[in-house]
């Protein structure tokens, strides 16, 4: 059973630089009031181009939260 993935945005960390929106191949993102959000009626194919280029780690692809054990940072 392949775990389902989703696009997650952390608007606290987004600085509205627009890089993700500019390089999203599906034009699924846009900057409104200095924060990223999904464009109306667009489709995100979870390619992760936005995550690669986000300078502030405010957008990323993750397995749906509930699906996997939470990896906890260790020493």
């Amino acid at each position: 059973m392949s775990s389902s993935k989703e696009l997650i945005m952390n608007r606290d960390w987004c600085k509205g630089c627009g890089i993700c929106a500019a390089f999203c191949p599906k034009h699924a993102l846009e900057i409104v009031n200095g924060k990223v959000q999904r464009s109306e009626g667009s489709t995100c194919v979870l390619c992760g181009q936005c995550e690669l280029r986000c300078p502030d780690y405010a957008i990323y692809i993750a397995e749906t939260e509930g699906e996997k054990e939470q990896w906890v940072k260790s020493y």
């Binding site: 952390n10 606290d12 960390w13 630089c17 890089i19 280029r53 780690y57 906890v72 260790s74």
Partner: protein, 290 residues
């Protein structure tokens, strides 16, 4: 994935596993300006380390002073934020004292090639096992936009109000010319390639330098009318050439182009390995003598 106890920085914010594992979330978001390329490059370093499976306890991040050098504080390793230009000298001490440590230096173009130039060429000449990731944004960002040793001739900075009269350094070429065994150039735009160039740099047993073209929209971009961070990244995308292509291009054609990829890789003996061999040889001689 196993669940380990001893959690330190709780996930107070939504973040990717990579960021949670290799950064210090309690210190994010970082101070770099919106659109600054340094954040992208810092993630490239984390991705390279993840791909190699390095131990965070055995990996040291050394940085100098400047925008780039704040990276050490954000990354969850043994990190040391040293003095301006001296990251490589500090790193040399750490690496030689304990060669098992993986020592990665993150510094800017000014920090590495201006005030730190002497340490750059000698660390390279020594071919000591360090991986240097230069966040090269062609400007002194932290101090407000002065031109740097990599600012192209004719371009502007607050200390080059009439245009920069100097010629600029090719940092990767400089280090290779001084003896580095691995020299490459990446860019903030070419993320996958830069990650692998850093990864191979870490694997190289010797002095590795990855000169990564960053983007500084706030100062370099504004002062030189390069447009937004997006425009500057697009410029990197549209003006990058591979070393193979570059080899076939005339200087005029190459002017202003960004040569991205592995530039040089030669195997030289690594300094700390040789030193350990010396110690073992002397110990053996003493045993034979007794």
């Amino acid at each position: 994935m196993t669940v380990n106890t001893g959690d330190v920085s709780k996930k107070t914010q939504k973040m990717s596993d990579l960021i949670y594992k290799y950064m210090r979330p309690e210190h994010l978001p970082h101070i770099w300006c919106p659109g600054c390329g340094n954040g992208i490059i810092m993630r490239d370093v984390a991705q390279a380390i993840e791909n190699l499976g390095l131990s965070r306890n055995q990996t040291i991040i050394v940085s100098g002073i400047g925008c780039s050098s704040r990276a050490a504080g954000y990354m969850d390793f043994n990190t040391i934020h040293t003095t301006h230009g001296r990251a490589l000298a500090f790193a040399t001490g750490i690496k030689l004292a304990n060669p098992e440590l993986e020592v990665i230096v993150i510094a800017g173009d000014g920090d590495l090639a201006a005030i730190g130039g002497n340490h750059l060429i000698h660390a390279a000449r020594r071919n000591i096992g360090l991986t240097v990731v230069c966040m090269n944004n062609n400007i002194y960002g932290m101090t407000g936009g002065q031109y740097s040793p990599t600012t192209p001739t004719g371009e502007f900075g607050t200390t080059a109000p009439y245009g920069n009269l100097d010629r600029s350094f090719d940092i990767a070429g400089l280090a290779y010319g001084a003896g580095a065994s691995y020299a490459a150039r990446g860019s903030a735009y070419h993320v996958q390639q830069t990650v692998s160039l850093i990864q191979e740099g870490i694997r190289n047993r010797g002095f590795s330098i990855i000169d990564v073209a960053s983007v500084c929209p706030t100062y370099y971009g504004r002062k030189n009318k390069k447009g937004s961070a997006v425009d500057m990244l697009k410029w990197q995308r549209d003006n990058a050439v591979t070393p193979e292509q570059a080899a076939k291009m005339t200087p005029e054609e190459l002017h202003g182009k960004l040569v991205i990829g592995l530039l040089h890789h030669t195997q030289y003996p690594e300094f700390t390995y040789q030193y350990n061999e010396l110690i073992e040889r002397l110990a053996k001689e003493r045993e034979d003598h007794e």
